[in-house]
């Protein structure tokens, strides 16, 4: 097992090099260039140097006067030492800006992730146990509505009902009007309260697929021979489903959930924008639009590491739940 993990980590490192190389190449080839925009603005000032001169000077300043390959290795050389540089757009160290916004997104994603699992898996199991019953149809239809309608639709509906009609929550923002006057505990609950609606929106749109997935797998498992064996032993239906069937249903679900690890940190651009939450989704979107190479590179590398890590964790968990894939 140790050998397997070590091998996978080494392969992941190699993959990471190529992934970052591609991202860097794409970033450099993008039509929006931060330097060109800056040069344009600076050259418009009275008595300024010409656009061409500014561009060359800024290119040299920002390290863009080299070729893509050389530029990549300069970036990578610093990145392995943990130096990701300053964000051009935000004018502060990349890691600092990242740390200031990521937790909003993480809290949002974690909340909706937990909500999703808690609702989708039991609902999927229930639908499978009572296949073609009324409850199965109700759950399936609700899941399909969740999958097919976009998040801004639900956001608007929820805002209309809970913020405007009932007035339970604020329309948008991460803190209330009286935030500064509250005690630290009160501040925490104030923020948590503002997270409720976006969390629900994110959960609604993601529940459907996980629920359908659970239902399909559960159905397959429930019709298998070893479940009949378990029943033939005289086990009660709840033990059959919750012990014998559930462990087998978990196998494919875990691969799916392992893949959602990067999703916890990647942010939800549309929902964050709709609720005006200063999360990573919205921030990274702005950076991409501005051609802020250091920030985007850091963000993308971070997501790439998480994706590789997620796959590795999924593989390890796979071996934990399914003895057939255990590596000797």
């Amino acid at each position: 097992m140790k050998k397997f993990v070590l091998k996978r980590v080494l392969i992941s490192c190699l993959l990471l090099v190529f992934v970052t190389m591609i991202i860097y190449g794409v970033m450099r080839c993008m039509p929006t260039s931060y330097v060109e925009q800056q040069a344009m603005e600076l050259s418009k000032k009275p008595g300024a140097k010409s656009y061409g001169e500014w561009r060359d000077q800024l290119n040299a300043q920002y390290g863009l006067d080299t070729g893509i390959v050389q530029g990549y290795f300069t970036w990578a050389g610093k990145a392995v030492r943990g130096q990701f540089g300053d964000s051009w757009y935000w004018n502060q160290p990349v890691t600092k800006k990242f740390a200031s916004v990521i937790w909003y997104s993480f809290a949002l994603a974690l909340g909706s992730f937990i909500l999703e699992i808690v609702i989708a898996i039991p609902a999927g199991i229930l639908a499978a146990r009572k296949q073609y019953s009324t409850s199965d149809y109700v759950i399936t239809v609700l899941a399909l509505i969740g999958i097919s309608l976009p998040s801004f639709f639900f956001a608007t509906i929820l805002k209309y009902i809970f913020a405007i009609k009932l007035g339970w929550f604020d329309l948008y923002g991460i803190v209330g009007r009286m935030h500064d006057q509250l005690s630290p505990v009160g501040q925490f609950f104030d923020m948590a309260k503002h997270m409720v609606l976006p969390t629900i929106v994110l959960a609604i749109v993601s529940i459907g697929s996980l629920m359908r997935y659970t239902r399909t797998n559960m159905l397959e498992v429930l019709n298998s021979d070893y479940i009949r064996t378990a029943r033939a032993k005289g086990l009660s239906e709840s033990v059959v489903v919750n012990k014998h069937a559930f462990r087998n249903t978990l196998i494919p679900i875990i691969t799916l959930l392992g893949g959602t690890l990067p999703g916890l940190f990647s942010g939800a651009m549309v929902t964050e924008t709709l609720f005006q939450i200063p999360g990573i989704g919205y921030t990274s979107y702005q950076c991409v639009m501005q051609g802020d190479i250091p920030f985007v590179m850091f963000y993308m590398t971070f997501i790439a590491i998480l994706t590789l890590l997620g796959n590795l964790i999924a593989d390890i968990l796979y071996a934990v739940v399914d003895p057939r894939v255990r590596v000797n």
Binding site: N223, S224, D225, Y226, R228, T229, A230, R231, A232, K233, G234, L235, S236, E237, H244, R247, N248, I251, V321, D322, P323, R324
Partner: protein, 384 residues
């Protein structure tokens, strides 16, 4: 052409919808009756007709309500399994052998599959349970403890994520809650040894995928024998195995049967296995019993044309034939069964009476019963 098509398996979407609507109504009512919170004991506690029997099947009907119509998988099956004896059930694929045994365990895939009529009386020693009406809680006490089943697919019948030991321990623990962990494990090891597994401590720790088919079938047998059941249902226990293992498994079953004095219901389409193992033989065709008797009677003096055909179609060592005999034609469509003898269309021994209704049972000897008009003379009719 279109008419011909209609009479076959083809039905329109409208018809199918109507059928499934009707099915839902029927199954819903049956399920409602089954899922009642409290089912009074009088409904499922009965008496055996003959206390010497372990199981009595009495006019059992198990239907599957499918979208193309009701499939009468088991359609009025009656036979007895005496205590301490082996009853072989033979017949071709799809004749209802397995469904009969699953009905006895109440393991038919519900809600589509339902035992709608008849009684299956099971003698558990102190009480006689009519399995058809028994609630799930009573069945759970019977299954694995008084009656157990060996399934035909050893490769898929064990749960892949649990160790062999855990899976056998589970059934012992369930029915003997007073046993301590060590006692349970000791019993499991004992069982593994009994079914002829040499490396018992090692196998206890293994997962099913680490064992071969024959080993897995032994594990299934060990699991079935764990609580010394009164009845072992072996549903084609050797079909998936090669011949050398087959003989070993059959020997094993026979020895174990003598050791714990239980009855065996042996379901198979291998006549050789039946000849070797069974005391009584039941021949099924298209969901009905067409002939039953002692093994000797069935093999020496088969009366029903289907049984005769079955005997002829088995290869005999030392007998030279150009082509192995096969019964012509195929089984009628299970959805629309004819109202005359089901075997008539394939039968080459028809008499005039065969045009009439389905033949009733005729006794050729006290133990030998045949459902064929050819046995009407000399045999005594039995009302069905």
């Amino acid at each position: 052409m279109s008419l011909k098509k209609k009479s076959a398996n083809y039905i329109s979407a409208k018809e199918s919808r109507e059928i499934s609507k009707k099915n839902r109504k029927i199954t819903k009512e049956l399920e409602k009756k089954r899922n009642r919170k409290h089912i009074p004991e009088e409904e499922y506690i009965t008496k055996m007709k003959n206390p010497e029997n372990c199981v009595e099947f009495d006019n059992v009907h198990t239907y599957f309500f499918t979208d193309i119509g009701t499939v009468k998988s088991v359609d009025g099956v009656s036979f007895d399994v005496p205590q301490g004896k082996t009853v072989g059930i033979v017949g071709e694929s799809g004749c209802g052998k397995s469904v009969t045994s699953l009905s006895l365990m109440q393991l038919v895939q519900r809600p589509a599959g339902q035992t709608v009529e008849g009684e299956i009386r099971f003698n558990s020693g102190d009480k006689v349970v009519n399995v058809v009406n028994a609630p799930a809680s009573v069945m759970q006490k019977l299954r694995g403890n008084y009656m157990s089943m060996i399934f035909q697919e050893p490769m898929t019948s064990l749960n892949p994520v649990f160790r062999i030991g855990e899976q056998i321990d589970e059934v012992i623990e369930l029915h003997n809650p007073e046993k301590s962990k060590e006692e349970v494990k000791a019993r499991t090891i004992e069982l593994l040894e009994m079914v002829g597994i040499a490396n018992k401590e090692g196998v206890y720790q293994m997962y099913p995928h680490e064992l071969s088919g024959g080993m897995r079938q032994r594990i299934c047998i060990a699991m079935a024998l764990a609580c010394d059941p009164k009845l072992i249902i072996a549903d084609e226990p050797t079909t998936a195995l090669d011949v050398t293992i087959q003989a070993q498994i059959l020997d094993l079953l026979r020895n174990l049967k003598d050791k714990i004095n239980s009855s065996i219901m042996l379901i198979t389409h291998d006549l050789g296995v039946v000849a070797e193992m069974a005391d009584y033989v039941v021949v099924m065709y298209a969901g009905r019993v067409i002939e039953k008797g002692t093994a000797r009677e069935i093999f020496k003096d088969p009366r029903h044309p289907y049984t005769i055909g079955l005997m002829n179609s088995k290869p005999v060592v030392g007998k030279k034939v150009d082509k192995l005999y096969s019964i012509p034609g195929s089984v009628p469509n299970p959805v629309n069964m004819p109202d005359y003898c089901y075997f008539k269309d394939r039968c080459n021994m028809c008499v005039d009476a065969c045009d009439g209704a389905y033949p009733c049972e005729y006794h050729v000897s006290p133990t030998h019963v045949v459902s064929c008009y050819r046995c009407a003379e000399g045999g005594t009719a039995n009302e069905q």
